[in-house]
């Protein structure tokens, strides 16, 4: 049933959905990467602050 319905969906709609999913995945990949970078920076910042305190 689902397959039959799917075949009725126009090629344009399929292309639109593909584009939306690609955009979403690209945004997710970007924000996950930024998050990792931010985490790295925070750790660095904290360690340098600690060092300063020790000095």
């Amino acid at each position: 049933e689902d397959a039959a319905e799917e075949s009725n969906v126009s090629a344009e709609l399929i292309a639109l959905r593909k584009r939306l999913v690609d955009e979403w995945n690209a945004w997710r990949a970007r924000s996950k990467k930024e998050q990792l970078e931010e985490k790295g920076q925070t750790v660095e910042r904290h360690t340098s602050e600690e060092k300063e305190e020790i000095e």
Binding site: V21, N25, S31
Partner: protein, 334 residues
């Protein structure tokens, strides 16, 4: 989906929340009581008594050790999850409308209402996790009165000392806790009151619901609107389903505007939308009044809704939910 009806509240639900493992569900209500339930069978594990007014909000830490609640009796309370004991009570001039733990469990943020000449305030308390939890500091680590429209909802971001807020005007914003400054805002995120704000599992994005009948997904760094979900009813709650590309929305006309004819009975629906394609994929009905709060199990295996009708309904997803790919084999990042 087999729903489990949790009967234990005498008045409408205000917020429900799963713990990190998802085995426990916390619920608070206008009946002054907080309950905790086993999510798999709906059995009530316990009750947290002591509040003298509507309990507006509840949150639980990642260890399921401490629970925090905010109520109309102007108190913020810290509870021992396991024993039901109230460990500490903070008192303010006005009601506590929203509370949230930080990701590391070390801080809680709370919003107090603007009323009787008192401004809306945001306070952050450091939680002393040593000992039995009763030794807390009375004074907040940070406190400020946000400028402009009053705050309705909030959560900690992953950036230290930065929270994200939703406002009565429809604005969403980022605030620096130390300075009380608004770092960034989107004044036109919504056109009416922001009623709920829930974070994605990795806290890189969040969803808001609003009385303007829409829900929106925003990037937590830029506050840019990524997705919009437009419904035909004022929304009270929005949640993100982990593992599947869906979001869950709940709302309904206010109880006072609803004609209680039999036609309307059990017709208040949780709406499932595809979060990427912005299309509605299904509805689950059951509540006898507007849905005030929705939470999804962190493992994505079930969800719960709390209604104006005083009921909590827990729906465990069945196999067809996990198998269903309503839009084909597109791989979607969580």
């Amino acid at each position: 989906m087999r729903p489990i009806l949790l009967q234990g509240h005498e008045r409408s639900l205000t917020q429900i929340k799963f713990n990190k493992e998802g085995d426990l569900l916390f619920s608070c209500s206008k009946d002054h009581v907080i309950n905790v339930w086993y999510s798999h069978n709906g059995e009530r594990l316990g009750t947290y008594d002591g509040n003298n007014g509507t309990v507006w909000t509840v949150d639980v830490d990642t260890e399921s050790r401490f629970m925090v609640s905010g109520a109309a009796d102007n108190t913020l309370r810290l509870w021992a999850v396991a024993t039901g004991k109230c460990l500490y009570t903070w008192e303010f001039p006005t009601a506590v409308k929203r509370v949230a733990f930080s990701a590391d469990d070390k801080q809680i943020v709370c919003i107090t209402e603007q009323r009787m000449g008192y401004q809306c305030a945001i306070r952050v308390f450091n939680i002393n996790r040593e000992g039995d939890g009763t030794d807390q500091s009375e004074e907040p680590a940070f406190m400020f009165n946000p400028i402009g429209s009053k705050v309705t909802v909030c959560a900690f971001t992953l950036t230290p000392n930065v929270i994200v807020t939703g406002h009565e005007s429809g604005k969403v914003a980022l605030f620096n806790l130390k300075s009380g400054e608004e770092i960034l805002n989107n004044e036109r995120a919504h056109m009416d009151v922001v009623t709920d704000l829930q974070l994605s599992a990795d806290r890189t994005y969040f969803i808001t619901s609003s009385k303007d009948k829409t829900a929106r997904i925003h990037d937590i760094q830029t506050l840019m609107v990524i997705k919009t979900f437009t419904t035909e009813t004022p929304l009270n709650s929005a949640a993100i389903a982990p593992g599947k590309p869906y979001i869950l929305l709940g709302g309904g006309q206010d109880a006072m505007n609803v004609t209680t004819t039999s036609l309307r009975q059990g017709k208040f629906e949780t709406r499932f939308w595809h979060k990427v394609l912005e299309e509605e994929v299904g509805r689950v009905k059951g509540h006898f009044g507007p849905i005030n709060t929705i939470a999804v199990h962190p493992g994505g295996t079930c969800y719960a809704s709390g209604g104006e009708d005083g009921f909590v309904r827990v729906h465990h997803f069945d196999d067809s939910y996990f198998r269903a790919k309503p839009y084909g084999d597109l791989e979607i990042e969580d």
